[in-house]
């Protein structure tokens, strides 16, 4: 495990990805620094104003939401940055190096997934923490509930990795892997309008199919909303998106394992 973890860290440093994260953190900190005060002004129906307390009831804490967006962006970057790792590992000439060693394919995949999750997840967490620290120092916006969003970032990364790694293993192509991530995101967005689609058809079979697809499909955006609710002390009414998405992620990892075990290299 140590070797694979170390290799993942060296690859991360070699690909200069760490600098991209550093630039983003610096920019975020600079924005926080030049902002006199974090103020939010929302118009409701074109007139009137809401204080943060009222807004929290409707949208959740805006600071948390802003931080959530920032973390989602970091997760997105981590997914893009790591999408080429498996296709790179499985390219001709490289894969022979790994597979000629006394380590099973399933174990190799498991260890590498864990290493990517830890290393890239760590990078996301450290970047997020630095921005959070800056926000706290400059504006006194320390909030313990941000830890929930840090956890969300790790969960979110794991979910997206399950997609990018499955398609990376299947196609051995970075582009295909990223396209798959994009496709999942689009399908999730389309499925969020499932009630509208159901209203278009009277067929109970059609409705059942739409519900089933929604049920088994990963729903990272809905998971993100649930974590945001937790972070802003609001009630979570339905945990189904969390456990169905985690189950989908584990199924995708399982499929990746099956595929790598059966492939010829």
């Amino acid at each position: 495990m140590r070797g694979i973890l170390r290799d993942t860290v060296i690859e991360l440093l070699d690909r200069k990805i760490i600098w991209v994260f550093a630039v983003i953190v610096v920019l975020a900190v600079l924005i926080l620094l030049v902002t006199d005060d974090i103020g939010f002004r929302f118009g409701v129906g074109g007139s009137g104003e809401m204080d943060l307390g009222q807004l929290n009831e409707v949208l959740g804490n805006p600071i948390l939401r802003g931080f959530d967006l920032f973390m989602a962006f970091l997760v997105f970057l981590a997914v893009v940055a790591s999408a080429g790792i498996f296709p790179g590992m499985l390219q001709r000439g490289r894969t022979e190096f790994y597979m000629s060693k006394p380590i099973s394919r399933a174990s190799l995949l498991r260890r590498k997934v864990f290493a990517i999750w830890v290393v890239y997840g760590g990078l996301v967490l450290v970047s997020g923490f630095l921005v959070y620290l800056a926000a706290g120092l400059f504006h006194g916006a320390f909030d313990g509930s941000i830890l929930v969003l840090q956890l969300l970032a790790l969960v979110s990364l794991l979910i997206w990795l399950s997609v990018s790694i499955l398609f990376g293993v299947l196609s051995r192509s970075t582009v295909a892997s990223l396209m798959a991530v994009l496709l999942v995101w689009v399908v999730e967005w389309v499925l969020s309008y499932r009630e509208f689609f159901k209203s278009l058809t009277d067929s109970s079979v059609g409705n059942a199919i739409i519900d089933t697809v929604y049920f088994i499909f990963p729903k990272p955006d809905e998971v993100s909303d649930i974590f945001l609710r937790i972070a802003s002390d609001r009630t979570v009414w339905d945990w189904q998106p969390v456990w169905t998405t985690l189950a989908a992620a584990f199924v995708l990892f399982y499929l990746s394992t099956m595929i790598i075990k059966r492939q010829d290299f």
Partner: protein, 309 residues
Amino acid sequence: MQIVETENLTKIYQTGLKKGNIIALDSVGLRIEQGEIFGLLGPNGAGKTTFVKVLLGITRLTSGSVLINGLPPEDSNSRERVGFLPENHRFPPHLTGSGLLLFAGQLHHLPETTIKERSTHLLRLVGMERWGTTKISRYSKGMAQRIGLAQALISDPDLLLLDEPTDGVDPVGKNEIKEVLKRVKSEGKTVLLNSHLLSEVETIADRVAILNRGKVVRVGTVDEFTTRGLRYEIEADIREERLEIPENVGKVIRVTTKLLVVELEHIDGVNAVIDQLRMKRISIKSVQPARISLEQSFMETLSDGEERI
């Protein structure tokens, strides 16, 4: 003791429906003994690389059986004491030479102190001690081959599988690699050598197999490949003497003023030919079995196979 044993090993690559299947290996049965250098020869596409990949479990066999150190390739323990230098390798370019050896050692579950000791020794052995801290992406082809050989040796393997090890290496480097292989052999280790460079295989291999279109067409010692049965070359001062050999002894293949080539019916025929030369008071300088190069033998074996097909 056999370190590699294959029986009826067949590998069929399934391609698109219209293209049909490709038989990469067809009922290959080979046994490689511990401590020998075994050369696997064959033209491009003969199945040599597939054979090695099947041994390592990188490619799945379609039917037949394979045992490495008594274990099937599906068992990752079968690779515990195996080193492999792949053809056209692309080692992780972000690693340095020493980093690659450390990573390879860790994948072999070796303790870090052992890896460090062996790395120092191996970098020196392959002439890369000055380049250990340089990234692999900056290596020339020959340097990458050398570091590839070092990573294959990091586990102190009982079996070393080398696929075109001297590819891209300069003549000095080739010679050094040859010396390393001799040293490995002297330590009782087994080497399976896939190479196009038959002159190299000829000088270091003990036994050779020729693979063509996925089938083993011939296996034998290098001597068996390079000697031509009972054909002998006799260097002598023949001048214009007329030589005739009885039919039951053999026949004259070629005769010049200084060389006589005969094909004998029996090994004792050598004495009969020498006696005849001495009776004619012809001075004999040397008698030796007629040899051909491994390359010539390889070409003849392949063309024999083509004729049969």
